[in-house]
Symmetry: C2
Subunit: 272 residues, 2 copies
């Protein structure tokens, strides 16, 4: 019984024909996938349940046994699907307790996507960052922003500017662009009042889970306004960190440009 279509005993999802749909691979060009292992199909189904909101951020998903019964496969197959979602940080396994939907809240190392650390090793010595919202306004997407957010030009977007300080010293100036539709109702007040990572607010208030991001990093000089906000001169080199953050299915949901002051902090990266 090699890779038979799954009779999805729930919801309305069409059974994935075994020799058809894409197994999400990056081999590109010519070669047809032509074969999708069962656990990959299960992975797609789990992804759908995550995306549809069937399972909330931070909540437990059904046990491996339950899922195995639901999809009519062995526990080992469900396990392999969950394993991959766990290494992608979409799910979190906790032995003895269950498997949970990953979240940007509660994440004791808050700011999961922020790679800036103080020179004196300990990220906690400075305490939490002080956040100051400079601006939050509606505008229309420039050609550049539209392209990066998969929008049409001039579509409405929300634009946020804020400064993060560590030990009372302004260190990061961020400009954000968000598609207006999913974030309807976001204001400077709600941003200012919320105590926690911005991505956690996005999850709980707007149901948008940031799952993955890409950053392009350059060395730049600030313009006079940026220099003022960071309290540095216009000749101080800064790290420009341009991030595009994605939800499920690689849908871009945020474009963010950060200017990092790196005299007492550094951007950390690990290579394998």
């Amino acid at each position: 019984m090699p890779t038979e279509p799954i009779s999805t005993s729930s919801l309305t999802s069409k059974p994935l024909a075994s020799e058809s749909e894409s197994p999400i691979e990056m081999t590109a060009v010519i070669a047809t996938p032509s074969f999708s292992p069962l656990y990959q199909q299960i992975k797609v189904l789990l992804l759908q349940s995550l995306q549809s909101g069937e399972w909330k951020s931070g909540a437990a998903i059904p046990s491996e046994q339950d899922l195995a019964l639901r999809y009519k496969v062995s526990q080992g197959t469900v396990r392999k699907a969950i394993d991959e979602l766990a290494t992608e940080n979409l799910l979190v396994r906790r032995q003895g307790k269950g498997t949970f939907v990953a979240t940007h809240a509660e994440h004791h190392v808050q700011y999961r996507f922020l790679k800036l650390f103080p020179d004196n090793g300990d990220p906690n010595s400075e305490g939490p960052a002080q956040r100051r919202i400079i601006d939050c306004k509606r505008s229309r997407a420039s050609a550049d922003i539209a392209k990066k957010l998969d929008l049409r030009s001039a579509e409405p977007v929300l634009q946020v500017r804020r400064v993060l300080s560590f030990a009372s010293k302004p260190t990061i100036l961020e400009d954000l662009w968000l598609p207006a539709a999913p974030f309807k109702g976001l204001t400077a007040e709600r941003l200012g009042n919320y105590d926690g990572p911005m991505y956690a607010l996005f999850e709980t208030e707007f149901g948008v889970r940031m799952v993955r991001a890409e950053e392009k990093i350059r060395a730049v000089l600030p313009d006079s306004e940026q220099a003022l906000l960071l309290g540095v001169s216009s000749t101080t080199p800064l790290l420009s960190v341009e991030r595009i953050a994605y939800t499920y299915n690689d849908v871009p949901m945020e474009m963010r440009r950060g200017l990092y002051l790196t005299d007492t902090h550094y951007y950390r990266n690990e290579l394998h």
Copy 2:
């Protein structure tokens, strides 16, 4: 038969007592591991074979069946050990062919650890980098270098300076520090004559495999000598990329400081 010591049927490695040795975890403080799964112990044995040179760079290691027989465990257990080494990029699986020792040579995307890409998407459009060795000399480790390379102060080190150009434009200035002992015999000539990634030369000529690295990134201004070598003014902001590269067992084997020109290139990073 829960996690019984392995009667290592080869070499001289002592059998790892089941309730003793560290499973290489980062939980730190207080908590004793107290339990090491079989596949983790297999992983350690595989690591030893890699480190000892029993399996050469780029060569195939024994089949999963063979390893299962050698260690007297099931194929699935060997599989899980290899899986982890593969995700850490120490091994490369190739269906139908075997499992191979990862190498910096042949890696069609040469420069595995270089995250700098041209703005116009395609990394191949510029062709291979032009390399120019500026200097290669023996010296003694400063306190800073010694600390980063786990050496004693003033221990002999090799120091290399080179410039990488893309499309004939100088783009990267690198300073390297290597512990002298493992790299005895390295000269500017050998570096200049070698056609391929430097880490590939380290593998084939000195048996040193770089397995992992950490980078600290900052925005800086070049001093006059650096500016000259890159052909820019002293007010051009540059990316400072300080890398420490490690072999097996987290032994540091290289400290490298790169200055990247980021007007037509960017440093790319992926977040999960």
